[in-house]
């Protein structure tokens, strides 16, 4: 490192190791989990490179200290901020970019979900809906701490929150619910190549040919009987306010494993499982919100269910499936169609769960024609208007 470029050190600090420890503190302060181990490793690493080249030092520190892709992206910025006084030499050129990514401690606060922070702060800027103003105050660090607000947010009707945190929380909830539904191990045992138990019957039978020596050990295991989840989400006009949360809920369900299937519908039905398997939650949700808006118009629950029966049900729905319908039950089709479609679906032996955001409202009764017609075919009918109510589903779904 050239001494001329370093200005921020007090006179007392002299050695490389002391300066480096300051840098480590700086990284730690910005959410990189560096410890004494990394510190000593960096020192070792510096010993085997040319320490006078800032670029080589950067590369070496990066390889040792950045442990995951988002830290990897952040690292160059943090490095420059520390060793070159917040990137002063380039400030004029990239000032706007710098503002956004500038590692202020409040943005990269450790403990508030470091992994997604850069993404979510960017996502907030992109959002144009009315809640954007509230979000940005929570993110800029001057306002409240995110960790303390999540608890409150859970009780607010989902319409009122579209923050990245709640989107993530919805996804996590979906993970839990999917796991609760899916964990079904059989009580039977079946022969398998690998397994915890010996298949004694076969071992003894086969040992006869070796003169009674049990030369080959055969195994048994309890086979998994996983539950297939198929989710159908209503994204019609009346549901748009919930769309984002439910979409991320859907994403949570789908990304949990490859068998889960997800569909969107209002006037027509689209399969979105693959689009939802995008690694970036916010990007997937935003993309799908756009997709959903593109259709517009009323809701044809009955017709869509019929189409689902015709086109997809044969492949995806069987006796081990749970079909989750997320809809408010306002249908422009005559109610008979819904009941017929559900009846046909039910004959496949699946269980049908209907989550209705309206059910959480005070004095709600399922009088809407479609909803009333659907009720007899449902195994479980529940509210889904707050994250809390989604979380409360777990024990019920476990029993299904």
């Amino acid at each position: 490192m050239c001494a001329a470029q370093l200005t921020r050190f007090p006179q007392t600090v002299t050695g490389v190791s002391e300066r480096l420890s300051g840098f480590m503190a700086h990284l730690r302060h910005n959410g990189l989990p560096v410890t004494v181990t990394e510190y000593s490793q960096t020192l070792e690493a510096l010993a085997c490179i040319n320490m006078c080249s800032a670029n080589e030092v950067r590369l070496a520190c990066k390889a040792v200290c950045a442990g995951r892709s988002d830290h990897y992206d952040q690292f160059d910025e943090l490095f420059r901020a520390y060793w070159f006084n917040a990137g002063r030499e380039k400030l004029s050129v990239v000032s706007s970019d710098q503002q956004r990514k500038k590692p202020s401690p409040s943005i990269f606060q450790p403990g508030i979900d470091n992994n997604r922070q850069p993404d979510s702060s960017r996502g907030t800027a992109d959002e144009t809906d009315s809640s954007a103003a509230d979000d940005s105050s929570a993110h800029s660090g001057e306002g409240k701490l995110i960790a303390t607000t999540t608890k409150n947010l859970e009780k607010i009707d989902l319409r009122e929150l579209m923050t990245p945190e709640s989107v993530q929380r919805a996804e996590k909830l979906a993970h839990q619910l999917a796991a609760a539904m899916r964990d079904r191990r059989s009580r039977r045992r079946r022969a398998a190549n690998r397994g915890a138990m010996l298949d004694l019957r076969r071992v003894i039978r086969k040992s006869v040919s070796c003169g009674g020596e049990p030369l080959t050990l055969y195994k048994r295991h309890k086979p998994d009987r996983p539950v297939n989840i198929v989710a159908l989400l209503d994204v019609s006009g009346s549901m748009t306010v919930y769309a984002k949360i439910f979409l991320s809920f859907l994403k949570g369900l789908v990304s949990h494993d490859q068998r889960t299937d997800a569909y969107l519908f209002h006037t027509s039905l689209v399969r979105v499982s693959d689009a939802l398997r995008d690694n970036d939650t916010l990007r997937a949700v935003n993309r799908l919100s756009l997709m959903a808006q593109g259709f517009g118009g009323g809701t044809k629950i009955g017709t869509n269910l019929q189409q689902f029966n015709r086109q997809y049900a044969a492949q995806t729905v069987n006796g081990r499936s749970v079909v989750i319908i997320l809809s408010d039950g306002y249908d422009t089709d005559p109610p008979e169609i819904i009941s017929q479609a559900l009846q046909r679906l039910k004959k496949r032996g699946c269980r049908i769960v209907w989550l209705n955001p309206l059910k959480g409202w005070k004095d709600y009764a399922p009088v809407a024609g479609g909803m009333a017609a659907a009720l007899p075919y449902l195994d479980f009918f529940a509210a889904a208007n707050t994250l809390e109510s989604l979380a409360a589903l777990e024990p019920h779904l476990q029993r299904l």
Binding site: P33, T35, T37, E38, Q41, E44, A45, C48, I49, N50, N55, E56, L59, A60, K62, A63, V64, A66, G67, R68, S69, Y72, D73, R194, E213, P214, L215, T216, L217, D274, N279
Partner: protein, 291 residues
Amino acid sequence: MSWKTLQSDLAEAGYIASAELAMALHLALTLERPLLLEGAAGVGKTEVAKMLALLQSTRLIRLQCYEGLDASTAIYEWNYQRQLLSVRAVAEKDLSTQEVEDQIFSERYLLKRPLLEAISQSQPPVLLIDEIDRADEEFEAYLLEILSDFQISIPELGTIDAVSKPMVILTSNGTRDLSDALRRRCLYSFVEYPDLSTELAILQKRLPHIDKLLAEQLVGFVQALRKEDLQKNPGIAEMLDWSAAVAGLGVANLSDDPVQLQATLVCLLKTQSDIAAIPVEVTQRLAGKLA
């Protein structure tokens, strides 16, 4: 050996590494630490290990991870049949239980799987643990002991220390988040898709007979294609396949024959929806920009 020499050696062997990657490799070699490589599929993570083995002219031991991979497939297993037979054979002799046990639980009765094999080589091999994110967390925990101390504990036999420290490379596609404990034991590098000039260099290294103008077009097209909204972005191997295909068909300029160009895209697009997403018009738009 400095990292720059390593970078140029790799380039000589046919692998163009970014400065970040070369430095990470150099440090991994000098500090004898495992290196974790992350990045999209097809950016050449696995290839790094192969090239490294080639450069060091040493063995490449590869462990392909999958769901349900367990210790007996990855580390070691007792040769049960042999043990059984030897127990029978010594039954007539008058040996104590302790002696029999010592005999059948000795190294001769141990089947070495890749990990144990890797630490018992006299010349340090390159150990490639491919797609570690596909293995389950249980296996990740097994790995920790090997990666930090280069030793394996076998309950019946005791701890086996490494004869030589293998050069360990782990790759991950990010289908599952890896544990912090594993990350902390490794150096880390994120491998990106190469930029235009790098990819051009790769193409010219691997397929030197391709005309320079065509090579520029091919790489430019693939780079533009990666910006489209695809399910599976074409990796470097796909790019090389496609280039070989196009060159093999005797095409001199991409914009010459739209039908043929469209037909060759099967080398790049690997799902039905991706093929549907890139119709002739889009291909022409992408190809047109290059001309």
